[in-house]
């Protein structure tokens, strides 16, 4: 039996050159937490500005740069990588019963690419920023913007290669490194979700890359690509951008769905209802998610024919999402549910994701979208999914696997409190925005008519609560690293191979390669093992 991966070699050098997927996960965890904080500061300033109809905290120009910074940082430097690169990196080999990912060096490279891209983006943001919004639409971004478009766009280009590397690694690992007996239908649902996510990483990200490269080219050399005054077609930019970015919104939800499947099963102590449906719905979300992107251009001059096709596909994609929700509810139905912090986050996810998904259907309807597009309704829609859904799932997952990652328990009371506060603060922040948008308040303006003030104040107050609630885990997780109770190998009584090794795991993950004999979420098997262990049988690791 060997030492935990955390302490085997404590030098900085050994961390920076590590090929251990678990350490790389922690390197990523540190980096994206910093970016989350930065994006959060941006959000706070935006909400402060909007406390008053003509806020004075930020000038109009600064306001535009602020929401751009917020969007760019949150999307590419936090939410797209979030669950895959932290929990995913940590868990994929453990859940497969493998010693590492398929390409450990590539994994480390992806982190360095990520850091380099982050620095490039930060350089652009701090040397003046840009006012294009996270969507970089041309010709604003190529012709008219007076901001630092190039470093940011090239940073995001580089960032894409980091995503692609992670995607390649996960896909090949899941194909090649399954432990003996680990058939596809025995994989934990988290892995199905990460597989689907990786498909998007690998096949959508390069299109963003080339799109941004074309944009950079146009801006740098003043040659026409998308510029209408030079004969180009600005809508083509939007087509290409959303070919990536709509699938990317599924990058920003599928991993969360995976986490929630794990948590719901564990805390209801039941196999996930309709395992195969949930598994395949991940794959079909990823696949159908690739053919709906045109719903972002309904009012931009897209052809009606095209709009109808994309509207129809958008309705299709909600079917597998709904399947998931019903199956989670089916799992919970009749179970004896334990309401530990991870489960609170998971339940928050289910509720908020449902609201976000249903409002997506409003937006996918051509007629309704004409009224709602470019208003706060859209802002509320995607925050319900990306923040209410994905960030909740990310926090839920962090709590759930924290004992495994660190070998320490977090304080449960505080965990529950933070989860409840996040749910409350989130709804207070974003529900008013649905109403605001419905009443016609446009997004991306530094000022608004006075009649919208009450709802805006409510929203800003919610943001304050949310900020406090997000800081809480940072504090008590830090505390638990030193003072938390020692975690047993399997604190939640969960199935899954990651729980069959020590907390924290040794560098090589398992003392000997595990053999899988049952389906995922087989609690009978878990009890049988526990029985054997009590009877003095050989103890795992």
């Amino acid at each position: 039996m060997s030492e935990s991966y955390l302490w085997q070699d404590g030098t900085l050098r050994s961390w920076l050159l590590t090929r251990d997927h678990k350490r790389i996960a922690l390197l990523y965890l540190g980096s994206i937490t910093a970016f989350f904080a930065l994006g959060g500061v941006g959000a706070a300033l935006i909400r402060l500005q909007l406390l008053e109809p003509t806020g004075t905290i930020l000038s109009d120009a600064t306001y535009n740069r602020m929401f751009t910074m917020h969007g760019v940082v949150m999307v590419w430097l936090f939410l797209v990588p979030s669950i895959p690169v932290t929990l995913g990196n940590f868990l994929v080999p453990l859940m497969l019963g493998a010693r590492d990912l398929a390409f450990p060096r590539l994994n480390l490279l992806s982190w360095y690419l990520f850091v380099a891209s982050g620095l490039l983006v930060l350089y652009g943001l701090f040397r003046g920023g840009l006012e294009t919004g996270w969507t970089f639409y041309t010709p604003l971004s190529s012709d008219y913007s007076e901001g630092r478009v190039l470093p940011v766009v090239l940073g995001i280009f580089l960032n894409g290669f980091s995503s692609i590397a992670t995607g390649v690694n996960f896909i090949v690992s899941i194909h090649q490194l399954r432990a003996p007996g680990m058939t596809w239908y025995r994989l934990p649902l988290m892995l199905w979700a990460l597989y689907a996510t990786s498909v998007i990483f690998v096949l959508a990200t390069p299109v963003l890359g080339i799109t941004l490269l074309l944009l950079a080219f146009e801006r740098l050399f003043r040659v026409g690509v998308f510029d209408p005054t030079l004969g180009g077609d600005p809508l083509l930019f939007q087509q290409m951008f959303w070919f990536y970015s709509h699938p990317a919104v599924y990058i920003m939800i599928l991993p969360g769905m995976g986490v929630v499947s794990e948590i719901v099963s564990t805390f209801c102590r039941k196999p996930v209802f309709g395992y195969r449906f949930v598994a395949w719905s991940s794959v079909s979300i990823a696949a159908i998610g690739f053919i709906v992107w045109g719903h972002h251009m309904f009012v931009a001059g897209e052809s009606l024919y095209s709009a109808i096709v994309f509207s129809m596909f958008s309705f299709f994609v909600s079917v597998p999402s709904a399947i998931k929700v019903f199956n989670w509810l089916g799992t919970m139905h009749g179970g004896s549910i334990r309401l530990d912090a991870p489960m609170l986050y998971a339940m928050g996810f289910i509720g908020l994701f449902t609201v976000g998904g249903l409002t997506g259907l409003f937006l996918a309807s051509l007629a309704a979208d004409v009224h709602l597009t470019q208003t706060y309704f859209v802002v509320a829609h995607f925050h319900y999914i990306m923040v209410g859904g994905m960030v909740s799932a990310y926090f839920g997952g962090l709590h759930y696997w924290w004992p495994k990652i660190t070998g320490r328990m977090y304080p449960e009371i505080w965990g529950r409190l933070a989860a409840a506060l996040i749910f409350f603060g989130f709804n207070l922040t974003f529900f008013p925005q649905f109403i605001l948008g419905f009443e016609g308040m446009p997004r991306r303006y530094a000022t608004y008519p006075a009649q919208f003030q009450i709802l805006n104040v409510l929203s800003s107050a919610g943001a304050g609560i949310l900020a406090v609630a997000y800081v809480m885990p940072l504090v008590y997780f830090g505390w638990s690293l030193f003072r938390g109770a020692r975690a047993p190998d399997n604190p939640w009584g969960a199935t899954g191979l990651e729980w069959r090794t020590a907390s924290p795991p040794p560098t090589e993950n398992f003392a000997e390669t595990p053999v899988v004999t049952t389906d995922a979420y087989d609690y009978g098997d878990l009890d049988a093992r526990a029985g054997r262990a009590d009877a003095g049988g050989p103890h795992h690791v």
């Binding site: 990912l101 080339i210 074309l214 026409g224 083509l236």
Partner: protein, 215 residues
């Protein structure tokens, strides 16, 4: 590290074969991703060459077909020569790998030099889009679009060539140290996949940039 026919202690794989197949598969997956990178360019080309057909074809007619065709021949040959290195690797013939590798890299370099000559001509003829763009007339806007596409596509392809040549030289260095054996020559194969892919992309760019719309 030098002997890849055995697994090192922390390798996630069960057998060397298992590892090598994963490497090949991983490269193919990466190439699928690369295909979509160029796919964005192909989309631009598809749309503009149809919706702005006149000016686009005008642009095609101004490219240098001779250099283009010679370069295509060079690249075909380079890819073939590198495949000889792959075969040599499988026999464990390290010297063969070096010889074929250097040949392929040299041909790649020749391609880049010719491409540079071609670019030089085009710059001096003011074919780079801008206020002094050489082509005039009603369709010159779309012709300029064509040249935007031309320069970016050849630049991106050229960058891939540079990376490919670097990888081939790395393989040659390993081979000189006697790294490859009949039991293990996977890196030679993997680099070969990349190099042939760069070739393949050119087989698509060549007709798009030089041929379709010419006559």
């Amino acid at each position: 590290m030098s002997d890849g026919s055995v697994l090192d202690h922390h390798s996630p794989y069960e057998t060397p074969l298992h590892r090598d197949e994963s490497a090949i598969a991983g490269m193919w997956l990466f190439l699928a991703s690369e295909a979509l990178l160029f796919g964005g360019l192909f989309l631009v080309c598809l749309v503009y060459s149809q919706t702005r057909a006149g000016g686009w074809a005008e642009g095609v007619r101004h490219t240098n077909l001779t250099i283009g065709a010679v370069n295509t021949l060079i690249l075909i040959t380079s890819s073939a020569v590198y495949t000889l290195a792959v075969e040599a690797g499988r026999r464990g013939d390290n010297r063969g790998v070096v010889r074929a590798g250097l040949g392929a890299a040299g041909l790649g370099l020749a391609f880049l030099v010719l491409k540079g000559v071609e670019w030089g001509q085009e710059f001096s003829e003011n074919l780079f889009p801008g206020p002094h763009f050489a082509l005039h007339g009603p369709a010159s806007g779309a012709a300029a679009l064509f040249y935007s596409f031309y320069f970016l596509a050849t630049f991106l392809h050229g960058m891939h060539m540079v990376v490919g040549i670097g990888l081939i030289l790395w393989i040659c260095r390993k081979a000189r140290q006697g790294a490859f054996s009949p039991a293990w020559s996977t890196p030679v194969d993997v680099v070969g996949l990349y190099w042939s892919f760069v070739d393949l992309i050119w087989m698509l760019l060549f007709p798009l940039l030089y041929l379709i719309g010419r006559a």
